[in-house]
Amino acid sequence: MSQQHILALFNNFENAEAAIYELRAADIKGFNFDDLTLKSPIEHHEVEDLLGKRSANVQWFTLGGALLGGLLGFFLISGAQANFFAQMKGGKPIVPFPPNFVLTYEMFILGGVFISVLGFLVCAGLPAKRSPLYSAKVSEDQIGILIKADASAMAKIKKVFTDHEALEIQEEAGK
């Protein structure tokens, strides 16, 4: 069965929320709830209750990046200092920990920040091409619901949108 996209625009979050609840409850054949994307001009914390727990794994990138940065920093500095093992240090350590901690700390942060951003791009799917249906109104004041579903399910989905006062419905045939 060919897949199609449909985008509905709503005037407020309440209408969009009601439409999503109905779509989830309706159990429409040919429509998988995970293929629903909510688009909004601001972040709605309520979305998590609405769509169910969807993962955000940026924090694992952060942890990896911070550890990697810290280790890289420490071993870079220590490696450079270890070049002087043959020189007389007057009893001082070849690799002094307290001053090295400062740069290790900076590299810990640098790694954490850089890799978090990389994680953000990976997890959020950015940079991205425009999705098949997009309306500039979503970045202004309207809430959009984008659904990918079988062509057979479109009529029912469209009816749910219409019942919940969708301002505009756009459809496009998928591949």
Partner: protein, 455 residues
């Protein structure tokens, strides 16, 4: 109680007002831009002259090896802390009044750091020797000294600058998408299309955006503290009288937040007028910033007193002599001016009617930053003119016009970058202002319902 922002502003109007600021500012914008360009030209001319003739023209010589360049370097590093305070600390504390003003504070952070970085180069004179502060071995395989605070400084500033740019950019992505969607065709639209990375405001994007923004904010707070502590270590880890003080790192951090807050007031007032942001940069928000500045000014005053007391009771005669020289020697007018601008002038911010008086606040904020700039000069110069050896006791060495030209030029450079940024990128965060309006209108609806229920 006055509201920080009106809950009835339509979201489309928020977009419209902010996007208008990218197109048609008031005439004052162009006046500021030309003035900034002129000042920058003066600074550039001084740098070219110094580069051609040599460092002698700066009148930097033994014992005054660090002059206005290093003092102004610290000033600009300090200025950069405002963005972190408003964006990261207040973000973690859920202070939503920061939302209309944090973007320009973040931009301030970035451009202050860029300006500060220039002073390192200017101070070196031989620009190509900058690589000595980079963790890269020379032709003999010798690495720089990783135990030197100067090297820590280079690394800390690089980390802070790159993280601040990233923080500014990440926070701006949803707004760049708005610009992409609503501006006419042209080079700007192409720029926003590239920079917005295809943002569409999907639940997946927002979810990951929130986590990333929070994470980077969490990293930025200790980073900002470490940066200025390390700058303080440039002084405190030396044996010079007047610098070898334990309280220097917190003193520097407090001073940084202080000058940053004062600069926020100055730029708040300018942007509010120039871009017609009266509905977003409101007087109740200005009042909060003024109160915050007052609180930090008192912390700074306290730490100043601690520093003086520590020197006075430490029985370190050389440090004591430096302090006495500051108060009664040739630097006395500047030192007392610093005390007046930094500790007495902010008392005006405690007076309620001045907290929303724009002309008074503008003048106060400029005086505060004058005081903070003098503070940095008073840290650097007097110690050099009264060190441990009598041959250093030459009293006073007035900086040459080249040094002054470079200092004024740095203000021009900063203003130029900042004003160009505000004209090219939205200086008010549209999506965060919408969030603020949305959450406040929800809260007031709840209150209304609760009141109806009570009746």
């Amino acid at each position: 109680m006055e509201k920080d922002i009106s809950e009835s502003i339509a979201w489309a109007k928020i977009n419209g007002d902010v996007l208008k600021s990218l197109e048609a500012p008031r005439k004052l914008y162009w006046v500021i831009l030309v003035a900034a360009l002129t000042l920058f030209g003066v600074g550039l001319g001084c740098e070219v002259y110094q580069y051609q003739i040599g460092m002698g023209v700066a009148n930097l010589n033994n014992p005054h090896v660090w002059g206005l360049y290093i003092a102004t370097f610290i000033f600009w590093i300090g200025m950069s802390h405002s963005g972190t305070l408003l964006s990261a600390i207040l973000h973690l504390m859920h202070a939503d009044w920061r939302k209309p003003i944090y973007r320009f504070a973040e931009a301030m952070t970035t451009f202050s750091l860029m300006t500060a970085g220039l002073f390192v180069m200017v101070h070196l004179g031989r620009l190509w020797q900058f690589y000595y502060s980079v963790p890269y071995p020379n032709e003999r395989g010798l690495w720089p000294n990783f135990q030197s605070p100067l090297l820590w400084d280079a690394m800390a500033i690089f980390t802070y600058l790159s993280s601040s740019v990233i923080f500014l950019f990440i926070g701006m992505i949803p707004d760049l998408a708005i610009c992409r969607d609503h501006l006419h065709e042209g080079w700007r639209k192409k720029l926003y299309t590239i920079l917005s990375l295809g943002w569409e405001g999907t639940d997946r994007q927002w979810r990951n955006f929130r986590v990333t923004y929070l994470t980077v904010a969490c990293f930025l707070i200790p980073l900002a503290v470490s940066v200025h502590s390390i700058v303080a270590s440039d002084f405190a880890m030396s044996q010079q009288p007047g610098w070898h003080v334990t309280s220097f790192p917190p003193y520097f951090v407090a001073g940084a937040l202080y000058s940053g807050c004062a600069a926020i007031i100055t730029l708040f007032i300018i942007l509010r007028y120039v871009f017609r942001f009266e509905e977003y940069m409101t007087l109740p928000i200005l009042k909060k910033v003024a109160r915050l500045t007052f609180a930090i000014s008192m912390v700074w005053t306290y730490l100043n007193a601690i520093e003086f007391a520590a020197v006075w009771y430490s029985h370190d005669q050389a440090a004591k002599d430096v302090l006495l020289q500051k108060a009664m020697g040739p630097y006395a007018p500047f030192w007392w001016m610093m005390i007046f601008c930094g500790s007495v002038v902010p008392l005006m911010l405690a007076v309620k009617r001045f907290q929303t008086n724009i002309p008074v606040l503008f003048a106060v904020s400029l005086l505060l930053n004058l005081g903070m700039w003098l503070e940095r000069w008073m840290i650097v110069a007097p110690t050099f003119s009264h060190g441990y050896y009598p041959w250093t006791w030459d009293g006073f060495q007035w900086p040459s016009w080249v040094q002054w030209g470079m200092v004024f030029g740095s203000f021009g450079w900063f203003t130029l970058l900042f004003m160009l940024f505000c004209k090219i990128f939205p200086s008010v965060s549209m999506y965060e202002v919408k969030e603020m309006v949305y959450h406040r209108s929800l809260a007031s609806k709840k209150n209304e319902l609760a009141e109806k229920g009570a009746h």
